[in-house]
Amino acid sequence: MPYLKMDSADLPKVARKLAASGARLVLPVREGDERFYREGADPDSLDLTTIPKNSIKEFLFPKTERILRYQYRGKDVTVEDVAPTAAGRTVIFGARPCDAASLPVVEPLWNWDYKDEFFNARRAATVIVTYACRTAPDEACFCVSVGLGPSSDQGSDVLLFPLDETVVAVRFVTAAGRELESAFAEFGKGEVAEEALEAFRKTGEASLAHRKKFDRVQGWLEAHFEDRLWEEKAFRCIGCGTCTFLCPTCHCFDIQDESCFDAGYRLKNWDACQFSLFTLHTSGHNPRDTQPKRYRQRIYHKYAIYPQKFGKILCTGCGRCVAHCPVNLSLYDVVATAQERAERGD
């Protein structure tokens, strides 16, 4: 089945059309030497050069949000629901495949023992136009290691294939994506055969051929909890939240109440298992009292526990944790070591 062909120079115009209906538009834009996904930016500042430093997580799961309001009147308290913010129609235009793929990975979590109305409202209202990677945009990328790829359509409604500097092929993946066809059709300049996309996909995967496949990691982890690996590898971790907060699939949160005298809000804020207080009990006991234990936990959650619970790896190989860790503690290196040891049988 052929795909729509268009000029990549027209992509900002498509974005502008999609936002015209009042939708919240999220785009990757340039800031200094970096790119960030930002909402409300002018579509002409769309910058698809490389993977943005932040993920799309914040647009579905904000770094802080109010979830209820309470009011005391004497001894009585009333609790009111707070509607999810930014739950109106959202278009994320130019997401990378690793970002789009994070959504099907985390959806089971947000609908597990509690259906999180905040995430779900935003997810239902969000449509993702993904920009596939012709080649891996950064040395840190490893999406192929976790069963994805630079042309993965997981989580995407529309998938854009930059066949070269000027030509983009458009594939409408889902019903929600097909609803956007008219916005693209105006800029259509013919068709692209499906075979061209096969070649595109192969080029992308070839650029990541050096990355190990992490297919033996879960089993190795389940048998090596007390291994010396954690002490050795995690020495340099300084216990910040950079990897956790930039990660598209990390989702832990802290509940905070902020009040002013007789009224206040309850908030849901990003939290990180790398923080020293994350598992501190009120008794004073902390089961993860050293950084190696906390770092081990992160790997286990992503590569053993989440797969056990939900059948998916809690990682899309976006590489942000590798690229932006202040001390170059590479999650890829650590997990690759586990994979190698599994393959060697130790």
């Binding site: 904000p62 770094k63 802080t64 949000e65 009040s259 002013c260 005298f261 009224a263």
Partner: protein, 152 residues
């Protein structure tokens, strides 16, 4: 906690909320003297007694602004008169640094006053509070700080 959009034009009913962190030995006693002398002054000031200006911490000021204070006053013993000998000298350095940092962050320094008021200066207490209250009244409420809770 208010989440209404703040403006600098106050409704007719608005009254400035001044929070004053004052030291127990000098300024607090001076304020007491103003009271026993039946001096009249605006009732807008909320006094928080600290043992010494050396106890003052910028966190107190930020919390006051978060909770809706329109102005913050910090007052203590004159240099040389500190009950703890040097608390106010340490405080003076803290004030210097903190005040400049607030200015650098774009907070209006005219909402942040510092004074030395002795136990005998009931009159100075009254005058300072009156001047500060009227200054803040002219400026309007300081809602912007407390309302910065929306993520853009």
């Amino acid at each position: 906690m208010t989440t209404e959009a703040g403006g600098s034009k106050a409704p007719a009913a608005w009254e400035p909320k001044i929070v004053a962190f004052i030291c127990n030995w000098c300024t607090y006693t001076g304020a007491d003297l103003a009271g026993t002398s039946r001096m009249k002054y605006p009732p807008n000031v909320r006094v928080i007694k600290i043992p010494c200006t050396g106890r003052f911490d910028p966190l107190f000021m930020l919390k006051a602004f978060e909770r809706g204070a329109d102005g913050v006053l910090v007052s203590g013993c004159h240099p040389g008169d500190c009950h703890y000998t040097a608390g106010n000298y340490n405080a003076r350095r803290k004030f210097t640094v903190w005040r400049k940092l607030l200015d650098f962050a774009g907070i209006d320094l005219d909402r942040v006053w510092f004074s030395w008021i002795s136990a005998a200066e009931g009159g100075k207490w009254v005058e300072t509070v009156r001047n500060f209250t009227e200054t803040i009244r002219a400026k309007g409420p300081f809602r912007e700080y407390g309302e910065m809770i929306d993520v853009r």
